[in-house]
């Protein structure tokens, strides 16, 4: 039983990685695209690069094929990530580093990263002459790359493994001593999940089966939320604000709820007790409503986590964009608004820390409640 949920947790990771690989990618081409824009919008602003807040915000919220750290003048410092693509036009699996695209200036092995239109940020085929024109007749290649969000998930997995394996070793060595160090941070959280989420929601007899999944999803969401708030390198990717990731987390909850549903659970869905017969036969109104309920519960889990975390990031990015918008008008306005902006951003980040914990807590609590409802005995 415990092994089964461990296998499910393992497949969660594989699932999440696979799904995020199929999510949208947006290449961060700040300096180059701004230069291109300036060349086209000829004489108006040659010196100052026009700041576009919408583009700025979406670049930082979205996924990307390389990890952009900072831009100094015209140079971008970015960590290239591997691109793994199955090209249907060339019928071959291509693996290479994203640095070969030179921030969107060249095409490589018949592929390039699209800069505008509906495929913006994704990898598309180019025409045979090897230039930069998109081949509109070819279908997009199957993109399995290690994008920024996937890399961040791997970093989070490494962090979780390090934290929990070191704690487990300390407990194995002397199980009866008082916790110190990392243990004293994590043990209250684990006990909180066991005693205040799992036990009341699922019941004394069955909560043990679901504890591995609940703990894993709580710490995965919590650590990813926290990592998303850190602006420096191994952090700062918007993982839980990526709807593919939250989709997979919600699907996991849905799968576990469905597969652990006992006869009582299905009876309540298809033949709810206490409901008059004419709502179930000939037109099964009640069962349809119940089935819609079964689908919407995980769907709401997905949207809640995605929207909360994305909104937090958008607010922080919006405050920073204010500085640049004012700076475009006059450099002194930019400097003066920056004090206010940074203060507000610090305050919002404190709120975001609270939201990071609360969203992880609510996701885990609701999953536990659904498991409890699925395994409830007849009363």
């Amino acid at each position: 039983m415990i092994a089964k949920t461990k296998i499910i947790s393992f497949f969660t990771m594989i699932f999440i990685i696979t799904f995020t690989l199929f999510s949208k990618g947006e290449e961060v081409i700040i300096a180059d695209s701004l230069q291109n824009n300036n060349a086209e919008n000829a004489p108006s602003s040659e010196e100052s690069k026009k700041f576009e807040p919408g583009k700025f915000i979406f670049e930082h919220i979205g996924d990307s094929h390389s990890w952009h750290i900072l831009s100094i003048g015209e140079h971008d410092i970015a960590i290239p990530l591997p691109i793994i693509v199955y090209s249907q036009k060339q019928k071959s699996l291509l693996v290479f580093m994203s640095s070969n695209f030179h921030h969107g200036k060249t095409s490589y092995k018949g592929l390039k990263i699209e800069k505008e239109g509906e495929n913006k940020g994704k990898i598309v085929e180019v025409t045979e002459d090897g230039g930069l024109t998109t081949d509109i007749t070819a279908s997009k290649p199957i993109d399995l790359s290690l994008t920024k969000d996937v890399f961040e998930i791997l970093i989070c997995i490494g962090l979780m493994l390090w934290v929990f394996i070191s704690i487990a070793r300390k407990y194995a060595k002397n199980p009866l001593s008082a916790p110190k160090g990392l243990q004293s941070w994590i043990e209250p959280l684990i006990l909180f999940i066991r005693d205040d989420i799992a036990r009341p929601a699922i019941g004394e007899k069955k909560y043990n089966k679901y504890i591995p999944f609940l703990l894993t999803s709580f710490f995965f969401i919590f650590f990813n939320n926290l990592l998303g708030l850190v602006p420096l390198f191994p952090g700062g990717a918007n993982v839980t604000g990526n709807i593919s990731v939250t989709l997979v987390l919600a699907i996991n909850t849905f799968i576990i709820t469905t597969f652990s549903g006992n006869k009582n659970y299905w009876k309540h869905i298809f033949n709810a007790p206490g409901v008059p017969w004419w709502l179930k036969f000939p037109i099964p109104l009640m069962p349809v409503i119940e089935i819609i309920g079964v689908i919407t519960k995980p769907f709401v889990l997905m949207v809640r986590l995605f929207a909360n975390i994305s909104a937090g990031h958008i607010i922080a990015l919006g405050f920073f964009s204010l500085i640049f918008i004012f700076g475009n008008m006059s450099i002194y306005a930019g400097y003066s608004i920056s004090v206010l902006s940074v203060t507000f951003t610090v305050f919002m980040t404190m709120l975001e820390l609270l939201v990071a914990f609360i969203q992880a807590y609510v996701f885990t609590l609701l999953s536990a409640l659904y498991f409890g409802m699925a395994t409830e005995e007849h009363h």
């Binding site: 919408g54 709401v300 949207v303 995605f306 929207a307 909360n308 909104a311 609360i358 807590y361 609510v362």
Partner: protein, 85 residues
């Protein structure tokens, strides 16, 4: 006159969509504020009646607030979809 109204409508439809998104987001904010305000208010009343139950009341209040925020965020996501897609 008729042509002018038609042209105006064609031009305005894009702007109307953006205004609709703005109004929708405003309504979502108001609704979330009202809902969570009610929860906060009854939580305060409950704590005043029975100060030793503060812990239970606080966790239940936070859960209810998070659920309501979830619904408000649905509206925000729809408004963002209108604006940007």
């Amino acid at each position: 006159m008729l042509t002018l109204t038609i042209i105006l409508q064609a031009v305005a439809s894009a702007a109307l969509a953006k205004m609709g998104a703005g109004i929708g987001a405003g309504i979502a904010a108001v609704a979330a504020g009202v809902g969570i305000g009610k929860i906060g208010g009854s939580a305060m009343d409950a704590i005043a009646r029975q100060p030793e139950a503060v812990g239970d009341i606080r966790s239940n209040m936070i859960v209810a607030a998070a659920l309501i925020e979830g619904v408000a965020f649905f509206a925000i996501v729809v408004c963002l979809l209108i604006l940007f897609i």
